[in-house]
Amino acid sequence: MTLLDAKLVSMRFGGVVALSDVNVHQEAGETLGVIGPNGSGKTTLVNVITGHLTPQNGAVLFDGAPLLGRKPFQIAAAGLSRTYQSVRVFSELTTRENIATALLDAPRPLPSEGVAETAEWLGLTPRFDARAGSLTLYEQRRLEILMRLVQQPKLLMLDEPVGGLSSAEVRATINLLSELKARCTIFVIEHTMKVIRELADRVIVLVAGEKIADGPPAEILSDQRVIEKYLGSVDA
């Protein structure tokens, strides 16, 4: 079943073309990875799909319904959730209050046993009463994911979920994310090849706002063009 279908999406900021005629297609249950050098439009793609930006061109269907023109909160209510490239939690509130906030307007909130179980799985239970701003980056990253999971999204878009983490933490996050695949469909932007190679069922490559490749990770990561454009220019 097609979950996400973005067609011919184009986004310009003044003279800067951040996305040009990008097509993205994702099946339910399929993990889609997005790679591309810095500034290639990956975050912009997420911003467009989740209603934070209005593209000049294109159409986005989610679960069969058009998304463009809808507000971010409506898109969240439709079951499409996203995280941010730089971690974003309510740092003055406690972990517990952060979770409660995520549950406020969730259309299908996870029942409380489910919340407890998920928090336990993410290892956050001991930190429930700590101020979110006092958590480590790795804990904040997991809290971000927890706040999305209690809403039971159909699709979770993760923007560089291992950015800034140590290599041991990256390892642990990869394990968490592969378990996460059983809970919801994942769309993941990553810089680190390792993450994409281990997690993604399919990869798309963005370069300067254009999709230059789309296919299984093994094939894409050995593609000469990708290696030139991407591995040649970025430390991966």
Partner: protein, 326 residues
Amino acid sequence: MNVLTSRWLPHAIFAFAAFAMPLVFSGNRYFAFIVGITLLSVLWATGMNLLYGYTGLMPLMFAGIAGISAYVTIGLSAAGWSFWLAMLVGSIAASLVGIVLGLPSLRLRGFYFTLCSLVIQSVITLAFVYFVNLTNGDVGISHIPLPELPGGGQLTGTSYELVLAALTVIGVVVLTLLVESGFGHRLIAIREDDGLAETLGINVTRQRLAAFFIASLFASIGGALYAPYVGFVSPRSFDVLVSLNIWLMVAFGGRGTIWGPVVGAVILAPLPFLLQDYYMIKDVVYGLLIIGVIVLLPAGIVGGWKRKAAAGEPAPDVAQKTAPAR
């Protein structure tokens, strides 16, 4: 039962004090008047707290909204309406204006919102001066008739103060209920990070406008009752300095807490009366207070005390904190 009593105990004490004070001072009109003005100030500060404390916006047009309600109520009463009906219509009208004035809050943040609210307040004040046939301009309106009572007679003296006490207590209880409800939690989320709140499915626009409507209701009910109580209004009664004084009560007491603004109003509202003999230095004292709050007490009296209490507990592995806030 135990939980219930301890939760509402401060409210009960406050209600007791609010009703007792007018009775205690019923023999002395001057002191009773100070009590009445203080109660009104508590109501206003509580309303502004919903905006400044719980949505994080500093609105300087608060007094202007109170003024719109006061003038509408006076006008309708003069046209033969019952005071209470006039007050209802005036308050709702002014609160709808409050929503309109809240629209900039959807686009502007921090200083820009505050400046915008200051501009709006100045426009309202100019309008009060300009539309002489409605407001009697700078001269003001005096001999405002007292509200009539259902059984005949007028609301006056101690009974007026008791009505103010009742409304103030209701105001504080309503704010408590709101803040502890989902609405309050949504506002706090929006205050902390509106983008993230929206991403989590919260309708930021609707919550903000609702906050403006409710806070304006506090302002305008206070404004409608203020006019007959004092017996005189002019554009100066509702100018930017009044807004600033209400803000000061909230900031001084501690924004974002239920009791901070109440404490702030109880301390600051009687101040001009106490300083009456030193009338000249009133402005200087207020100026020093404003600077003192900003420099020394950014969280206010109650907020500062809360933070100290929290700092007493050991924060688990603060040293590990590596994450940038955003």
